[in-house]
Symmetry: C2
């Protein structure tokens, strides 16, 4: 952990009150002057840190920016997801950045955030708008020991982690639409793009690209999606702290990923099914040129959706465009 | 087609006899001097081209090199596979080169050969030895409209194309060992490494890496694989023309790929099953830590192997290490 992250962690510990320079200096093993210099630097980034001669330092407020050290300081306990965090002001697509890291052999768990993306992508090359500082646009590199067929497990994990984090951070009730969307009152608020590199029977690496429309105003959505999409701010009626939400999502995802690695996908699938609006409904799923109609019954052990067709057959669906018939 | 490729094509047409400079000049729309210059260049590459004042040019022999123009001149009819051919003297792995091309948006069908590979790869990161000019080490870029689950179809296509081409070029009887090996009398002579980049429900691109041990001598295999591997030269008792074999494989693969794109995988699967030593036998398949035992029954419509286990259950296997129990 960097010194900045260590300072922010220490300042967060006493929920009220302050930490003295002497205490910080001792705890972190650096001089009080060094602490002071870093506090000045953090202030220049927008962190409001009060310094009182008697009480010491107190973190009053944090700016609405994503800052790797800040995110680190919020995630002391993660084992894999988020142990390496990198923040870009602007990228083409965070999935592209992570793909380059993956090919360079970077360890799994690295997370790349961008404050804005110039070529954010949704599924099948669709565009994903990513205006500056209005959302969370990030990608996670994983190297699970799975067959490509089981990669859907990770989309399921990401959806569950997202739903859980949004729920605790906003008090909204997110629903999961299989396989990769998070909805609030039927409108899309977040999406997951899973991309993978594989041999026939082994994933080499997998990238979870996650986009959350956090603080967009209605006018910031393109007109053609305004009826279908929303933001957490619109739904909650208040601005949501992006750094807190980001940390919550990564923490939940780290937990879910550990469950999958331990072969406990079933427990995850149960939670997923509870939050899922697709299960139990009649759906039409378009997969390429094909269209499959039936009742969505459950997830199988690979994370595929099981559809009972009109003819009574059970079909396994890996991905596609789902419409729920109400 | 380049001028060199056009000249070689024209020289190949009259199976015996020669083509006059005047005829070539008219047919190809360039001066006789230009033809002469290119013939000189081809001679410098090792092509033995006789020039007689009365009869014209005659192709006497070709050198044992892979030359993109030469390969092109042998493949006038291909639609996708081989319409763009690139030959490197040395690469790390031809799959790596093709992956870069794929990411740069190069069209499907490009084939990259290397005279030698410094880091040739087999399945699951295993090493593939690729000594200079002793084999065919090449990779093909495809962009099929398939789900990742159906990618095995292309391994099956490559195996079938390889077996067919080896059979016609050498009179040997190649057998297919599911999913990705070609054997002669039980010894491995060629392998296929299928790598893909995908979203959950759509392949973005797929790379077929193919290695054929053509003219290796027994002493050129590492001691630990000598009992398991062989070359076409060892089995046929003569040196095999690599360019002819390469052209034959690409032509067959172009045909097989067209069948898959037309949804005619079933016809391919039938041919494959006839050539396959795995089908109809009791096998043990290791997939990661798991081991599955049973009788290999057939291929399903995605190219997966169907195994009837001891308990009577039918299991679908995408890939793994197969041992056949004799």
């Amino acid at each position: 952990m960097s010194l900045d992250a260590a300072i922010l962690t220490a300042l967060r510990l006493p929920k009220t009150g302050a930490v003295s320079g002497a205490e910080l200096s001792q705890k972190l093993g650096v001089s009080r002057a060094a602490i002071w210099a870093r506090v000045e630097e953090l202030r220049s980034l927008g962190y409001d840190i009060e310094a009182s001669p008697h009480l010491g330092y107190r973190l009053v407020s944090v700016p609405d920016v994503l800052h790797a050290d800040d995110l680190h300081s919020r995630l002391p306990g993660v084992k894999v997801v988020g142990r390496d965090i990198r923040v870009f002001q602007e990228t083409t697509s965070t999935n592209d950045v992570v793909e380059k890291l993956a090919r360079d052999g970077v360890k799994e768990g690295v997370v790349v955030f961008a404050e804005s993306q110039t070529r954010g992508r949704g599924r099948l090359g669709r565009k994903w708008i990513s205006p500056e500082k209005r959302g969370l646009w990030f990608s996670v590199l994983l190297r699970p020991n799975l067959r490509p067929q089981a990669a859907t497990q990770l989309t399921v994990a990401a959806a569950t982690a997202l739903a859980r984090a949004i729920s605790t951070q906003t008090n909204l009730s997110p629903e999961i639409k299989w396989p990769n969307d998070i909805l609030i009152k039927g409108k899309k608020v977040a999406g997951i793009l899973t991309e993978l590199s594989a041999e026939l029977d082994q994933v080499k690496y997998l990238i979870l690209g996650i986009g959350v429309d956090v603080n967009l105003n209605a006018s910031e959505f393109p007109p053609e999606v305004r009826k279908l999409a929303t933001s957490l701010k619109i739904e909650a009626g208040r601005t949501i702290n992006r750094a807190e939400l980001a940390a919550a999502v990564l923490e939940e995802l780290d937990t879910d990923y550990a469950r999958i690695c331990a072969g406990q996908f079933e427990t995850l699938a149960d939670e997923w099914e509870e939050r899922c609006t697709t299960i139990g409904h009649n759906v039409v799923i378009r997969v390429g040129d094909r269209s499959i109609q039936g009742r969505a019954e459950s997830l199988d052990s690979d994370g595929a959706l099981l559809i009972r067709t009109q003819h009574g057959r059970l079909e396994r669906i890996i991905g596609g465009d789902v419409s729920v018939e109400k």
